[in-house]
């Protein structure tokens, strides 16, 4: 259940458009179903009132969209950012991917997003509508009537251990903080304690599900290179399904390594994965190692900080 309601968001956006400060708003638009909310650029207040949605399925992180959106005109673009999105926003500013002056950030407090896969696991297919009431989700299904699910049981993986707060905004709705108390490295530690063979078997079974749709790369706010090695025909792994186990590993190791030290742990990669591969476990392994070896570091927390992989000390540990 979100603490802030839709009308407050619309009011904030309408104010920016009316005053002429921004001429368009990047927000969530209603999709075909309640749960497939899609990113959209709203150009007028009417459009916003008609199609804008805010709820438990507004997981999309808009930071990356700003790179192209800010380049389109000289006017400012208004954007809604949840606490986790603001870290990605900051990280992109650190990397000079767009100009801060061209964006109006409306920080939105978030109480965690729902994961449709968890809901489908309980309620099955054929979901017509999802409504929230007193901490429960009423899932209207075509075949089984109304299925009631505790909102907490439907929380997305990344929201279970989110302690992020809005770190950058022009206007803040709500207090902008999250206080989940789960340890985000619990699963990583669990894997580390397994034997080599077990870890190998675990990742083999997970990564072999990959269909190389590149969704994890495309959605990642840290993956913003204009030319990507995975699009290069000379790389032998450009835009095609992995031919064997080696190519699966190559893709996922390189993808995770490329964002190491810049990954804010926003969890978008795991959210968009159509095969449900826990990609965040690769990113979190890097984050955990960086914290252990080079000191506590949260990418995107402060403007102007140096990422651990473009920094060094003379006393670093040996590999």
């Amino acid at each position: 259940m979100q603490r802030i309601n839709r009308s407050e968001l619309i009011k904030a956006a309408a104010k920016l458009i009316e005053s002429g400060e921004a001429d368009r708003v990047l927000g969530w638009k209603k999709g075909e179903f309640d749960y497939d909310v899609t990113p959209y650029v709203f150009n007028s207040i009417d459009e916003i009132e008609k199609d804008f949605v805010w709820g438990d399925f507004c997981g999309a992180n808009f930071s990356k969209y700003l790179i192209k959106e800010t380049a389109k005109s000289d006017k400012k673009v208004a954007v809604f950012l949840k606490p986790c999105d603001t870290y990605s926003f900051n990280q992109l500013l650190i990397e000079h991917r767009f100009e801060r002056e061209k964006v109006c950030v409306i920080g939105v407090s978030c109480s965690g997003m729902a994961d449709i896969r968890k809901i489908k696991d309980t309620a099955g297919e054929g979901i017509a509508k999802i409504e929230e009431q007193d901490g429960y989700l009423n899932v209207f299904t075509l075949y089984d009537g109304i299925v009631k699910i505790d909102s907490k049981d439907a929380l997305a993986e990344r929201c279970l251990c989110c302690t992020k707060r809005c770190v950058v905004y022009d206007e803040l709705l709500g207090d902008g903080e999250n206080k989940a108390d789960n340890d985000r490295f619990a699963k990583v530690e669990e894997l580390e304690e397994l034997t080599e063979e077990q870890r190998y078997a675990f990742w083999k079974s997970e990564l072999s599900k990959c269909i190389r749709c590149n969704a994890c790369r495309d959605v990642c706010p840290a993956c913003t290179c204009e030319k990507c090695v995975f699009d290069d025909p000379r790389s032998v792994l450009e835009n095609k399904a992995a031919a064997n186990e080696f190519e699966e590993k190559l893709y996922h190791i390189i993808r995770a390594f490329h964002v190491a030290g810049r990954c804010t742990d926003c969890g978008e990669c795991s959210r968009v994965c159509p095969q449900n591969i826990p990609l965040h476990l690769l990113n979190r392994k890097f984050i955990k190692d960086i914290n252990a070896f080079y000191g506590q570091y949260q990418a995107g927390e402060k403007a102007g900080q140096r990422a651990p992989l473009v920094d060094y000390t003379t006393e670093d540990r040996e590999p």
Binding site: E192, A243, I253, F293
Partner: protein, 144 residues
Amino acid sequence: MQIEEKKPLIAAFCCNWCSYAGADLAGNNRLNYPDNVKIIRVPCSCRVDPTFILRAFQRGADGVLICGCHPGDCHYTTGNYYTRRRMTLLFSMLEYLGIEKERTRVEWVSAAEGAKFAQTVNEFTAAVSALGENRRLEDLRCKE
């Protein structure tokens, strides 16, 4: 007919300024080290992209060694400091994915340390031999 035991194949990335010269010195001094190590010269150890290492495994390497100048002695002042961080993270990740950590190693070898180079390669080859063939990062299409 005697069947020859398969020797492990080692790819060694050596930096142009220290380790490559170190390997050369090992040869000049007639020091013995296995012939199954393939030395690849790179301008600096920080030129080694994680992809290179994975590619080496794909193309049949059983172990990958990265040699550079001692920290503080980099020809480009700071290159090997970055290598050190990158490789620490990459090796830790490979271990996390269940790939034997003995298959990868970073060693700092200066141009004067021919003996260290020979010793490193000997030790590393022995360690990789003990593990046997690389199965977890192999690409059967690249095998003979």
